[in-house]
């Protein structure tokens, strides 16, 4: 523990060089800028900004990344409060109450409680991350390949079935992601899969291309396919983005409760930011003395879910850094960012690249602080961004997404892939299939195959190893409880109604 603290201080030392601070500042600015734009969530924002970091040295780039990460989250909450649409699932709740507050002329208070709440939650969650991730990583060193495989399968099951409204549709998305992950040469034997003789496909499909295309191009195609394109109306904001003593009094407990709900649900693969934000909202509504205000613009309904959203995002970084397992689209992009510098997150990361990982954690603190200082005073500038006409906005998003897809390898093949994935993204939106399981499948699919093969190599081909040992048994036990449990419960409920 004490050692980790010293490492963290070293991390701060890495961050506090003029160059790295510059990149941190640039990251917060760009992250917020792109995050504020309607239709761009944190995952897409990071994906779009990835090419910018490609030519910078790894440490500075990752520091910039941490800043972009929190910046995009902040930007997103501004949009959901001032526009009458959430834009992404984690902000649905913020939009619900925050927009009502804005309508009642309390936009400033809503923005302030969101920003300060995000700061408080982000800071607490980053502290927990700094001390939790190394412990988890140390434990993870003892996990055997079969254990890893069980963890991945658990992540597949929870991300596939907990997101969205329909279980089967989540699994459809997962299967599509697994198929995308298959494309290319098999790592061990070199056997080619689904390449159709295309030389470019041998290296597989770039994950960043998939992420950028499925969010940006899929969304643009989907909105274009709807008859009318509605320009979302921007709320008026009078006065400063600040809150009164009364607002503060009503906000601080929801911030802490939101953090307590959001962080653990990010660490375990519970499937994105929907669940924690909805839970936090429910808790605040149940505990509030002003229940009648909920649905009409209650500040607790912004403070809690916003804190939960941010703490959740930091929580997701714990398994991402310590196990190398991303369980949200945002974490998936951060993982890809690491990989683009040939750094593999996972239990070894804290030993092989301590300066990078601690620099990253320190810059999460710094980025979070910079945002609080920058964001509220600059609010009027961000509001201007919301007024960009939607036809230029989507034209820009499309063009920029294609740039990102191309710049990675300077290859037109990636652009062709982007077009196809964009069409898939359109179909998914049209038919109510969630996007995240596809991304998780595409990233974790190849990894699951790797652990599967390793496990069977250890056992000389005996499949029994997959469930041997305590750890896999515990994980599969949890899996059965999480997946089968609700099914039985639902069945009982329908049965009871019929009776």
């Amino acid at each position: 523990m004490g050692n980790n603290f010293a490492m963290l201080l070293d991390g701060f030392q890495t961050v506090f060089t003029p160059t790295n601070l510059m990149f941190g500042l640039l990251g917060t600015f760009l992250g917020t800028l792109v995050g504020v734009l309607p239709g761009i969530g944190p995952a897409l924002a990071i994906g779009l900004l990835l090419p910018i970091t490609l030519t910078v040295n790894p440490t500075s780039a990752l520091i910039m990344f941490a800043a972009i990460f929190y910046g995009a989250m902040y930007g997103g909450s501004t949009t959901s409060i001032l526009l009458n649409t959430p834009g992404e699932s984690g902000s649905v709740i913020t939009a619900l109450e925050g927009n009502k507050m804005a309508k009642a002329g309390r936009a400033g208070a809503a923005l302030a409680t969101a920003a300060i709440g995000s700061f408080v939650a982000g800071t607490i969650a980053t502290i927990l991350l700094a001390f939790g991730a190394p412990v988890l990583a140390e434990f993870a060193l003892t996990i055997q390949p079969a254990g890893y495989l069980s963890l991945i399968i658990l992540a597949f099951a929870t991300v596939g079935t907990l997101l969205g409204t329909s279980r089967i549709r989540g699994l459809i998305a997962l299967s599509m992601g697994l198929v995308i992950g298959l494309v290319g040469a098999d790592l061990q034997s070199g056997a080619l899969r689904l390449t159709f003789g295309n030389l470019n496909a041998i290296d597989g499909i770039e994950t960043v291309t998939v992420i950028v295309a499925i969010f940006a191009l899929g969304e643009t195609l989907y909105l274009a396919s709807r008859h009318t394109i509605v320009q979302a109306s921007v709320m008026q904001m009078n006065g400063k983005a600040w809150m009164t003593r009364e607002d503060f009094k009503r906000s601080w407990k929801p911030w802490l409760r939101g953090t307590a709900i959001g962080f653990p649900l990010g660490v375990i693969p519970a499937g994105g930011s929907e669940v924690p934000t909805f839970l936090s909202y429910g808790v605040e509504k149940a505990l509030s003395k002003n229940k009648d205000e909920f649905g009409k613009g209650a500040i607790e309904g912004v403070a809690g879910p916003e804190a939960a959203n941010n703490a959740n995002a930091a929580g997701v970084l714990v398994p991402m850094l310590a196990l190398g397992l991303p369980t949200s689209a945002t974490a998936a992009v951060v993982l890809v960012a690491f990989q683009s510098f040939n750094i593999q997150p996972g239990p070894m990361l804290f030993q092989t690249n301590p300066e990078i990982v601690w620099g990253l954690i320190a810059s999460l603190f710094v980025g979070n602080f910079l945002l609080l200082v920058l964001n509220l005073p600059l609010i009027r500038f961000w509001v201007l961004l919301l007024k960009i006409p939607s036809h230029y906005l989507y034209a820009g998003i499309t063009t920029f997404a294609l740039l990102g897809a191309y710049a990675l390898n300077n290859s037109t093949f990636d652009l062709q892939v982007a077009l196809v994935v964009g069409v898939i993204g359109f179909l998914f939106r049209r038919f109510g299939v969630p996007i995240t399981p596809l991304i998780i499948g595409a990233i974790l699919g190849p990894l699951s195959e790797l652990y599967f093969k390793r496990a069977l190599q250890i056992s000389q081909g005996d499949w029994g190893i997959l469930v041997a040992g305590t750890f896999p048994k515990v994980i599969y036990g949890i899996l059965i409880l999480v997946i089968i449990g609700p099914l039985v419960w639902n069945f009982k409920k329908t049965f009871a109604v019929k009776k």
Binding site: T85, R169, S390, H391, Y394, T399
Partner: protein, 167 residues
């Protein structure tokens, strides 16, 4: 006769669902045709793809059943507008063509032209009709991106027609 009961959207969704069923079968077929270079590993490179194929086929079938039983997906409604409006293939087609043009033009005509065409096309599809003004904005956007990336960040973008001027 079951098909008659389905609405137009339902039929589209059924086709969507069956495509996953077919995708699974296709992956299995591709796997069976796989060239295995001197295999002496314990796990064949075919094992995992077969599992994925089986999974895709299974969930594809599951979704087909779900649609046939009348459970339809809820279109994504996080953005403004009514998600249940009928599809407008014209506007969507324009966006797809704009993206396609970018892909084709990039290495033939260079980044600036490809990006201008794409930006302008998407803006047009989204209802903007100020053709000249849009063209100007598209050009400026393409130039700014080209310069900041190729000069500022040393990311190599094809210069195309402007090779002499921009270098």
């Amino acid at each position: 006769m079951i098909l008659n009961k389905l609405s137009k959207q339902g039929k589209g969704e059924l086709a969507f669902a069956s495509s996953f069923f077919l995708l699974g079968i296709f992956v299995a077929w591709d796997t069976s045709k796989m060239d295995i270079p001197q295999d002496n590993s314990i796990v064949s490179p075919q094992t995992f793809p077969y599992m994925v194929a089986a999974f895709a086929t299974l969930v594809g079938f599951g979704l087909m059943l779900d649609v046939l039983r009348g459970n339809h997906g809820t279109p994504d409604g996080d953005e403004p507008g009514d998600p249940y409006t009928p599809l407008n293939f014209k506007t969507m087609g324009i966006v797809a063509v704009a993206i396609g043009m970018h892909v084709i033009l990039l290495e033939i005509a260079g980044y600036v032209i490809a990006a201008t065409v794409c930006f302008w096309g998407v803006a047009y599809a989204f209802g903007s009709r100020r053709i000249l003004k849009d063209l100007l904005i598209s050009l400026v956007f393409a130039f700014v991106v080209y310069f900041s990336f190729s000069k500022g960040l040393n990311i190599n973008l094809p210069s195309g027609f402007f090779e002499g001027i921009l270098k």
